[in-house]
Each structure stands twice: as structure tokens, then as C-alpha cells.
Amino acid sequence: MPRIARDVVFVDGVRTPFGKAGPKGLYAETRADDLVVRVIRELRRRNPALPAERIDEVAIAATTQIGDQGLTIGRSAAVLAGLPKSVPGYAIDRMCAGAMTAVTTVAGGIAFGAYDVAIAGGVEHMGRHPMGEGVDPNPRFLAEKLVDGSALIMGMTAENLHDRYPQITKERADAYAVRSQQKVAEAYEAGRFQQDLVPMAIRSAEKGYGLATRDEPPRPGTTMENLAALKTPFRPHGHVTAGNAAGLNDGATGCIVAAEEVAAELGLTARMRLVDYSFAGVEPEVMGVGPVPATEKLLARNSLTMDDIGLIEINEAFAVQVLAFLDHFKIAEDDPRVNPWGGAIAIGHPLASSGVRLMTQLARHFEEHPDVRYGLTTMCVGMGMGGTVLWEAVR
């Protein structure tokens, strides 16, 4: 008997406020798994119509899966969050697109009929787990010139992208970053982000307990002059600075994904429908260009063009990588469809968690733009990849 794929919907997404990585950051003394636990519990609290035993899977992404991000974090966080022991879970990794991959993977399982409802999300505590912690690259990478030495340093891949697209100047990158900061500040002012943030208790041995209620990374009031003064750590007289790139951050995200028919049965609100997704590989030295082929593939398969897309949430690992995407699709830098509330340059990018932040925000954008049918979430991925998910408004 032929199998009929089921429609998959995004029900709800939340995240912890993002913190700056490091000893002075919000989460300096907070465990990564506790961030995930808090997100899972908040999802349950916000969606009381979902019986816990109906959750069929908990897929949590982390790039560095050791310590408090190890121990099969999807499963261990599910147990710590008090989900029934009958609910399974796993850990997933596609570096920056971890949470995105968690969503697409459980969505595949839902469409296939293996799950009805799943929790997907991601976490990265870059303070406790600095980028590259414990990595052991195979010497063949360099010996056989499979990749360039710069491929594993994300900032260098961003510099490489400036080389490839000389029209993307440092000034353009900085200007993009300033706009991102402005948009985030405005969205905060309007209370946009707050609706999907879950306050997180934070403890410091020195200061006692506190409560994280806002993102720590944004720098409202950032100017071109501020950014011009920053160092270019990846290359002398280069382009990439701490100001036109996302920082090193801590945070966790999560969402509920369900079969559309099951969401209806349980009385869960379907916020947007997952139409299709695509991942693509590019040269690791210019990983930032990954969203371009991923998106091209996806649009082609669905017989759509960029004109059909009304909203885009693109992760801002680096301004240059966003600009490369926009230039490719001939989208203006200030196109209101793109990152209406700003992006990771201001909010932060705790690697594997960011994919679901994009989705949570896109779901909100759909609410505010009832005329829009299609939206994208897209991001570049280390080791030369890009991922794009096509979403459709559910009215």
C-alpha cells in the first residue's frame, strides 16, 4: 500500500535569553542541560493541551556533545525535565544548523508516520564549551588538500567570502550590522522577543541567584564609527570584526513540531506548515555561501522563485554571508522581508540552538503579515554547508 506523507506543522517555539560566553556572561555558572530543561518545561507549560506521553521524540542539537552537552542530551534533558520515561530522545549535530536539523529530522519522521508530536531544539554553551573543544581533525584534510587550513576557522571563511565577492566591502558589512542592532533594539522596545523568552534562573557563587530575562549580547546604539574602530582578528587589515559577526554565546531553544492532523486532534495551534527543506554542501573555505545552493535547490524543487517568498529569517553568523545571499538573490540589503527584527549579529548565535530561534521568529512574522504565504529560515553551516527550510503560513 502506498504510504501517504503527512503535513507537518510548527506549533510553538521558545528560547532562553542568550548570554555572552565567558566568565562574566549570564550563564557562566549555569549548565547547558539546565537551559534545555527549562525550554522543554516552558513548552509544556505553554501548551497544556499536549499530553506529555504524546511526545514521541525529543531531538536536541549541540555542536560539542561532551560534559553537560553530552550524555545524549535529548534523552537526558527529557528525563531531567520530568517528561514520562516512556518519551525517548537523542542528540543531533550539524554545527550551526543543529536545531534546524533537529526540526527537519523529526519532521521527516512525522511525515513518514513514525511520530505524531516531537520536541526539537538546540543548545550551545560556548562559555563552557568553546568552539573546537576536543576536536581532532584528520591530518588528511590538509595533507591531501581536501580543505584549506582556513576552513575550520569560521572567521577566516568569512574573510574568504569577502575575497570571493569583492563588492561586499567592510563598509557594507558594518552597515548591515548597524541595521541589525537597530532592528533588534526596536523589536525589544516593542516587546517582540519577550513573548517567546523563558526567564532562566542563573546562579553565581559570588553574586547569588539572579534571573536572566533579556538577551545579553545586543549593543543598541552601535554606530559605523564604533565598528570601524574594531580589530579584524582573522586577518591583518581584513573585513571581519566582532561587530559584523555574531558573538560567542550561550543559550537554548526548543519547539513543538507535530503532524497537522494530530495538532488539530489535540487542539494545538498550528502556527506554520513545513513545506520542504534542503541542505547543500559548498567548499568548506567559504561555508558562508551555503544558504545559496540550499535555497536554490529548495525553490526549484517547489517550483517557486524568490519573488514568492514573503519573509526570510537568515542567520547572521557574519554580515558578509548574509550579503552574499542577498546579492545572489538580488534582494536589497534593507528589504523588509529579511530579518524584520534583526538577527544574530545583535542577538547572538549559540551555535546549535539558532535554527529554532529563526523559526520561532518566522512564526511570529507570519502572524503579523497575514498576506504572506511562504517564508524561509536559512543558515550557513561549518565545514561548508547551508540549510534552508520552506514554511507556509497556516491560516
Binding site: V37, R38, R41, L80, A81, G82, V198, P199, M200, A201, R203, S204, A205, E206, K207, G208, Y209, G210, L211, T213, R214
Partner: protein
């Protein structure tokens, strides 16, 4: 000496204050974290330093006008566990005691008297002053994962006098408050778990531990915005209050007969709390604390607490634990009730196979069936899972021959108390087991050295004396025989610890410690009865001590036959001090289970057996003779080196016989009443160790 000097070693609990933006626009809360800088194994307590720091923090908070609320929580797993008691033994004057009492009130009460509402978020263990900090706050939340909430002051010899006796009954009513203030402490210092504390009304809301603080802060915000109204059961300050006091007074009198002042003082405070103002209530608590801090009963209580907390965990004279050999299989000789209880205990705590042996298949089957039935009881109560129950049942088996002990590392005998029988049993076991296999005897009175004497390897024999019921009583007397080597002793201590028992090293002397002390007192009292003292007079004589039970009730519990047997053993060794009671022998011969009938009235036949004496004593005379006998016997035991120090005698009596903290076991009481000095020429403990300096 100033109070600060007295507490110069205080581990200061710091007051960390951080502003928290509450959700729902409820404003800013100054959130206090009480944290002594150590992990949960060293819980936060309040001494003068910590109180002063909290006071300074409250000064700063009170000076602000931008706050919507104040919150208090603790470090991970610990809210706060009350007053720092380490300095108390050094307090020499009532004024100092009063100063400490006042300081606590002066600081804590501010939490309830700020211009903004205060919230306690009880995230972990809360005891004594910790609970009182929470009680002073306007509102309380508690984590459902909190393992211990208690006002244990009366257990030690104090009252919850930093607001507890005034605030708690006014919050939850006198009846429930007395349960927490009086009954729980007098019931082996029982602790409440979070949900129980919440059910009693001590906390207004309860949240799960996973995100307790976040949800507590959300709740607090809702209270502040008016979205949540805190509803509490009304407190009956009429007849119900007085009735609760009367009931509790009756329970305390029945248990302690006035032997310990603290519970009665607490009762009086709760009784009066109904009509007192805060100032009056707190002032009365200060006076009570000062009086009790300057009481010998409290000093003895603190001494006893220290013994149980510290000395019990690091037994005096135990050899290097590195010498201990692993125990991977246990043999129990015998399948009677004691043997079966031991089998279950070893299987549960060590998780290794346990083989019971008996010569009689029927007895063996009965013994194993007993263990299985006990496991089913545990399963029924949810104390073990079905898998664990299956494992335990599988671990305990029976064998008609001792061959099953061949690969055992530890064999304990629990056969008939007769030297010849035990020697033979050990000889048979030795024929089967490895040369290192430890041979333990649960004898209550026979010589361990003699039992080992005829073995090829007497160095592996050790006394392992449990107290009935073995699953409940925490004491284990570990007896070093003449030949016992260090490895055997170390293995015995390690095994005792794994069995979750408190071990005390005892010399191989007749009846060891607990039975010898108990029997000496019992023998003296029985002697007065034989001389003509009515049994009921003798029974009442020891009441002023507040022992767990009167002497003849104890005899009934132990069983007259066993009492007689131990007495005979002791008589053999010390005929002068342990006369053979012909009447006790008659009672045994008559097959009586004691002097009481099942309804606890005196059995006229038993009374008849003891009748005939012509020189009755008064209660006071009986008590004097009993105490004199105790002092004499303990002095002799110390002189003989039965244990290392008086502290070990006290520890044994507290853990093995349930003797109360207010006596400090027993030697502090004998010291403070002058009995020790009068009878033996000197005190057992220096002044100040377990008494006022």
C-alpha cells in the same frame, strides 16, 4: 568574651543580593541568596557573623525605594539549616545567650516588617532558623524536592525561638504547629518533606525542583500584580488552640515525665502565642532561648548530637580502612528469626548473595520464606521496585549443608547462645571456607576470644553485635577478640558501614556495652523489687530520666529468658555486682513473657513471683540505687578498657538503647547530678564537654 569571639570559627553564611526583574511588569525584587560558600555537604547556618551580614543587606534594601519585593532563597539543595551551634558550648553567661537570641530576632523580623512584601523560596533543606527565616517572610514557596523541613530544636534541647513558636502556630494553627515543633523532634527527629510542609500550610505554593526558582518568581510576580490571591486556612485561636496544647502536653508528659525542659518550654510559648503581640512573643522566645542555652540539658543534647553526627561516623580505634577485604558473598548460620533478619539486611545493603543454613529443612524453608515475605512487604510499601524485590529474593537462599559457604567472604552465626554450640559451628564453617573468610558472631554476651580459641585461624573471628530489631536500631558493637587481626576488624567496620550501621569498637568483655549497662541498671531495680518494692513503684522510679521505657517494660521487650541469660553471663564474670535473681529465673520457668499482661496491666502471677521482700524502697531510693549502679559499672568498664572513652558508652546507649539526648546518653547526666563524683570519686567528662562550663 564577646559573642563574636565565641563564634570566631563561624563558617559565615553570606547574604548575596541581586536585583531580579520580575515578569508581568511586577517590578524589581531584591533576591537574597543565603550561601556559606561550600557545597551542600556543609549546609548554611546562622551565627553572629552571618546574621550581621544579613542585617547589613536588609539595611541596604530598606534604604531603597525602587523595589517591589524582597526574596530569600538558598544555595543549591540547601535553604538554611538554622543556628550555628558550634559556639554554643563556649557560651558562659546568660547575657551572651540572650544576645544571640535577640540578634536572631532583630534581624529575621525585619523580613516581615519591610515596606515591601517578602517572599521565601525554600529550594532545599530548611531547619530551625532556616524555617524561621521563611516564616518571617510574608509568603513562602517550597520545592517539591525538598527532603527535610524541620524545627528540630526540641530534639536538641532548645526551642525554635527565633520566631518559630510565635509565627508557626499563628500561620497553621496550634495543632499542626505542635506536630512540627514538638512531636516530630521527639519522634526520632522526624523530618517533613516538601509536599508535607506544603500540605501543612507552611508554604503557600509548591513547584517542582527542575525550575523551582523561576516558577517561584513568576508566582511572586502574580501575587504582586494581584493575579494570584494567597489563601490560607483560617487559624482557630479559640478552644481548638488550647485543646491542642493540652493534648501535646499530655503526649510530652507521657514521654518525658518532665525530664527535658525544652519541649515544655516550647509548649508554653505556643500556648501563649495566641494572645501575645509580636514584641511580647519574641521577647518571651528570647528569654526561653537564654534559659535553655544555659541549661545542662541543652549542653548534653549538643554533645549527644555531636557524637551521633561525628563520632558515630569515625569510630574510635577502627583500623585503616584500606585493610578491609571485599565481601562478595555472605553466609548466615541459622535460619531463625534473627538469622533471617540478618539475611535480609545483608542482601539489601550489600547486594550480594546470602546463604542461610540450618540442619532442619522445615526451619530453613521458614527462614527463607520469612525473608521473601519481608521483601514483599517492602514492595507493597513501595520501598523497593519489583525488579529490586526480585533481585533480593534471588539473593537470599537456603542450604542444608555449610558447603554453600565455600566461596563466602563473611559468615555470621546467629545460633543458640551457648559456647559449645558456637564453637562447633565455627569449626564446621572453618572446614569449608577460605582461610581469610571472616567469621562473625552475633552473640550478645559470650566471649568472642573463647569462641575463636580452637580454630586454626582465630584471627578472623570478630563480634558483630546487632540490636533488635536489626533493620531499625542503628548500633553495631564490633567486638575485637584476643586474636582478631586488623584486616578482620577493618572488614568488619567496612561491612558495618555498608549495612548503614554506626559501629563502636568494643573489647571482648562480658555483654559488651549496651547490655551490660542496661542489665546493671535492671538488676539493681529487680533487686529492689525482690527486697519488697512494689513493681509499679520501681517502674516509676526511673521516670525522671525520660528513658524510652520503664525497666520492666524493657525486660518484657528483651524477653525475661534473654535478660536472665545475659544476667547469668555477667554474674559469672562479676558475681558481686550482678547477683543471680532467683525470682527472674522463676518468671522464666513460669514461661511468662514479662510482668505485664497483653493489656499492659500487671500480671498477678508475676507479681506473686516477685512478692515476699520485706524492705521496700521509695521511688527516690530506687532511682538513687540505679544511678549509683550505673556510675559504678561505667567506671569499671572504662577502667577495664571496654571502650576507648565515656563518649563511646554514651554513643552506644543513644544508638543501641535509645537513651535520650537530654541525658547526653548517660555519663553527662551522672556527672551533672553529682552521682559520678560521689560514687566513683570523679566526673566522667570535664566540665563544659557536655554540661555548662
Amino acid at each position: 568574651m564577646s559573642v563574636a569571639d565565641i563564634f570566631s570559627d563561624e563558617v559565615v553564611t553570606h547574604t548575596r543580593v541581586r536585583d531580579v526583574e520580575l515578569p508581568y511588569g511586577a517590578g524589581t525584587m531584591a533576591l537574597i541568596t543565603l550561601d556559606n560558600g561550600f557545597d551542600h555537604t556543609k549546609p548554611s547556618t546562622f551565627g553572629p557573623g552571618g546574621l550581621t551580614e544579613l542585617n547589613a543587606a536588609l539595611d541596604a534594601i530598606a534604604a531603597r525605594d525602587d523595589l517591589a519585593a524582597v526574596g530569600v532563597t538558598g544555595k543549591p539543595f540547601i535553604f538554611a539549616v538554622g543556628a550555628d551551634l558550634n559556639g554554643v558550648p563556649l557560651i558562659t553567661g546568660r547575657e551572651q545567650a540572650l544576645e544571640i537570641a535577640r540578634l536572631g530576632h532583630d534581624v529575621f523580623r525585619r523580613l516581615g516588617e519591610l515596606t515591601v512584601p517578602s517572599f521565601a523560596f525554600v529550594n532545599g533543606a530548611a531547619m530551625g532558623g532556616g524555617v524561621e527565616v521563611a516564616l518571617h517572610c510574608a509568603y513562602r514557596t517550597i520545592s517539591s524536592g525538598v527532603p527535610a523541613v524541620a524545627l528540630p530544636e526540641c530534639f536538641l534541647g532548645l526551642v525554635p525561638g527565633w520566631g518559630g513558636t510565635y509565627l508557626l502556630p499563628r500561620l497553621i494553627g496550634a495543632e499542626k504547629a505542635l506536630q512540627v515543633i514538638i512531636d516530630n523532634p521527639l519522634n526520632q527527629n522526624k523530618m517533613l518533606r516538601g509536599p508535607q510542609a506544603h500540605d501543612l500550610g507552611i508554604a503557600d505554593a509548591m513547584f517542582e525542583p527542575a525550575d523551582f526558582l523561576e516558577e517561584s518568581l513568576r508566582w511572586a510576580a502574580r501575587v504582586l500584580t494581584g493575579e494570584v490571591t494567597v489563601e490560607r486556612a483560617p487559624v482557630d485561636t479559640g478552644a481548638a488552640w488550647d485543646e491542642a496544647i493540652a493534648q501535646a502536653r499530655w503526649r510530652v508528659e507521657g514521654k518525658l515525665h518532665g525530664a527535658a525542659p525544652a519541649p515544655l518550654r516550647a509548649l508554653d510559648l505556643v500556648a501563649a502565642a495566641k494572645d501575645r503581640t509580636r514584641d511580647e512573643g519574641f521577647a518571651a522566645e528570647n528569654e526561653a532561648l537564654a534559659d535553655l542555652i544555659m541549661s545542662d540539658e541543652l549542653r548534653s543534647g549538643l554533645y549527644a548530637f555531636d557524637l551521633v553526627q561525628k563520632r558515630a561516623r569515625r569510630p574510635a580505634g577502627a583500623p585503616d580502612k584500606a585493610l578491609a577485604r571485599p565481601v562478595t558473598k555472605v553466609g548466615v548460620v541459622g535460619a531463625g528469626l534473627m538469622a533471617s533478619q540478618l539475611g535480609l539486611l545483608f542482601a539489601r545493603r550489600l547486594g550480594v548473595p546470602v546463604v542461610l543454613t540450618d540442619l532442619d529443612q522445615e526451619r530453613l524453608d521458614k527462614g527463607v520464606a520469612y525473608v521473601h515475605a519481608e521483601v514483599d512487604k517492602l514492595l507493597g510499601k513501595g520501598r523497593v521496585s519489583p525488579d529490586e524485590a526480585a533481585r533480593l529474593k534471588g539473593l537470599v537462599t537456603g542450604s542444608l549443608t555449610k558447603d554453600a559457604f565455600a566461596d563466602a567472604d563473611f559468615v555470621i552465626e546467629a545460633v543458640f547462645e551457648e559456647m559449645g554450640v558456637k564453637q562447633q559451628v565455627f569449626a564446621e564453617v572453618e572446614a569449608v571456607v577460605s582461610p581469610e573468610c571472616l567469621l562473625a558472631t552475633n552473640t550478645s554476651s559470650l566471649s568472642v576470644s573463647e569462641m575463636a580459641a580452637k580454630l586454626r585461624h582465630p584471627e578472623r573471628v570478630v563480634g558483630f553485635h546487632f540490636f533488635n530489631p536489626v533493620a531499625v536500631l542503628p548500633l553495631l558493637e564490633i567486638v575485637r577478640g584476643e586474636h582478631t587481626d586488623d584486616a578482620t576488624l577493618a572488614t568488619a567496620f567496612a561491612t558495618g558501614k555498608a549495612l548503614k550501621k554506626s559501629c563502636v569498637l568494643v573489647k571482648d568483655a562480658p555483654a559488651f556495652v549496651v547490655n551490660r549497662v542496661l542489665l546493671r541498671m535492671l538488676a539493681e531495680i529487680v533487686q529492689t523489687v525482690e527486697e519488697g518494692t512494689p513493681i509499679d513503684v520501681a517502674e516509676r522510679a526511673a521516670a525522671p530520666l525520660g528513658l524510652p521505657m520503664p525497666p520492666f517494660v524493657l525486660m518484657g521487650l528483651v524477653g525475661p529468658a534473654i535478660a536472665l541469660h545475659v544476667n547469668e553471663t555477667l554474674h559469672e564474670a562479676f558475681p558481686d555486682r550482678f547477683p543471680l535473681s532467683g525470682k527472674l529465673a522463676k518468671l522464666v520457668a513460669a514461661g511468662k513473657p514479662g510482668v505485664y499482661r497483653p493489656d499492659f496491666t500487671l500480671d498477678p502471677e508475676a507479681v506473686e513471683i516477685f512478692a515476699g521482700g520485706t524492705s521496700p524502697s521509695t521511688e527516690e531510693q530506687v532511682l538513687t540505687r540505679a544511678l549509683d549502679a550505673l556510675a559504678q559499672e561505667i567506671r569499671i568498664m572504662l577502667d577495664e578498657g571496654v571502650v576507648a572513652a565515656p563518649q563511646d558508652i554514651d554513643l552506644c546507649m543513644i544508638l543501641g538503647a535509645g537513651w535520650p539526648f537530654h541525658l547526653g546518653g548517660v555519663t553527662p547526666y551522672l556527672d551533672r547530678t553529682g552521682v559520678a563524683e560521689r560514687v566513683t570519686g570523679s566526673r566522667f567528662l570535664d566540665r563544659g564537654v557536655a554540661s555548662l562550663p
